[in-house]
Amino acid sequence: MLFSAGGVVSAMLMPIHVLLFGLAFPLGWLDTPSYEHLLALVRHPLTRVYLFILCSLPLFHWAHRFRFTLYDGLQIKHLNELINTFCYGGATLGTAVAAYLLWRIP
């Protein structure tokens, strides 16, 4: 379930984020939003919830997908304990980092 939720979130929300923050703003195609505007946005509780969802769910999507890619793609299912710890542990760690950062916005 986390896998499909993460899949939907990353499909719907990520492309525009990557297009804007990864290419359009750095390359000057569009005016960069000011620091003040972004900080004001990020302070709003709804934005923080949005960002938490944007960061956490896709990580679990990655964890699940990558785990099976390693199993089937590289045929290393015998390393399952290591793989599971890396994947789901990584996703949990990322979620914790996101929660910490977003909770403590000045």
């Binding site: 993460g6 899949g7 939907v8 990353s10 499909a11 719907m12 929300l13 990520m14 492309p15 525009i16 984020h17 990557v18 297009l19 804007l20 923050f21 990864g22 290419l23 703003f25 750095p26 390359l27 569009l30 005016d31 960069t32 939003p33 000011s34 620091y35 003040e36 505007h37 972004l38 900080l39 004001a40 946005l41 990020v42 960002l51 944007l54 960061c55 896709p58 990580l59 999507h61 990655w62 997908r65 990558f66 099976f68 890619t69 793609g73 590289l74 045929q75 299912k77 015998h78 399952n80 990584g90 990322g94 980092v97 996101a98 950062l101 977003l102 403590r104 916005i105 000045p106």
Partner: protein
């Protein structure tokens, strides 16, 4: 409880090559689709870095922006954009397979189920862009 990765039933198992997925284009496309998840995870990292920089102040944020302008990061994020879009398209195209909806006895066409996803995608993207570009 038998650990399934250690127990091998006494039947014939060919050894599958680690590079089986290179044998056919269809296999490679599958692996690429699954590999898109790595770029999804990378974008989460970028988002977290941005959030951290915003917390720390304008100087830190400006430094991050400069870092994002470096050729390596631009190339990486361009590739990420491709894979994130690839993920979105393959994901939406799978929804008809995952959701079989019947109206009045007839099965809804694949397009009827996939298309609303695309529409939502455009609308949501436009909304996010508007919110970001306003200030």
């Amino acid at each position: 409880m038998i650990n399934p990765t250690e127990y091998l039933p006494r039947s014939y198992h060919t050894r599958v090559s680690t590079y089986w997925w290179l044998a056919r284009w269809a296999y490679l496309k599958f692996i690429l689709r699954e590999a898109s998840s790595v770029f999804v995870a990378w974008i989460v990292v970028v988002t977290l870095l941005q959030t951290r920089a915003l917390r720390r102040g304008p100087a830190d944020y400006a430094e991050l922006q400069n870092w994002l302008r470096s050729p390596f990061l631009l190339a990486l994020n361009a590739v990420s954009l491709f894979f994130v879009i690839f993920h979105a398209v393959t994901w939406f195209n799978l929804t008809p397979k995952a959701m079989v909806i019947r109206l009045g006895g007839k099965r809804l066409s694949s397009l009827a189920i996939a298309a609303p996803n695309y529409v939502a995608w455009v609308v949501i993207s436009a909304a996010i862009a508007w919110i970001l570009l306003r200030g």
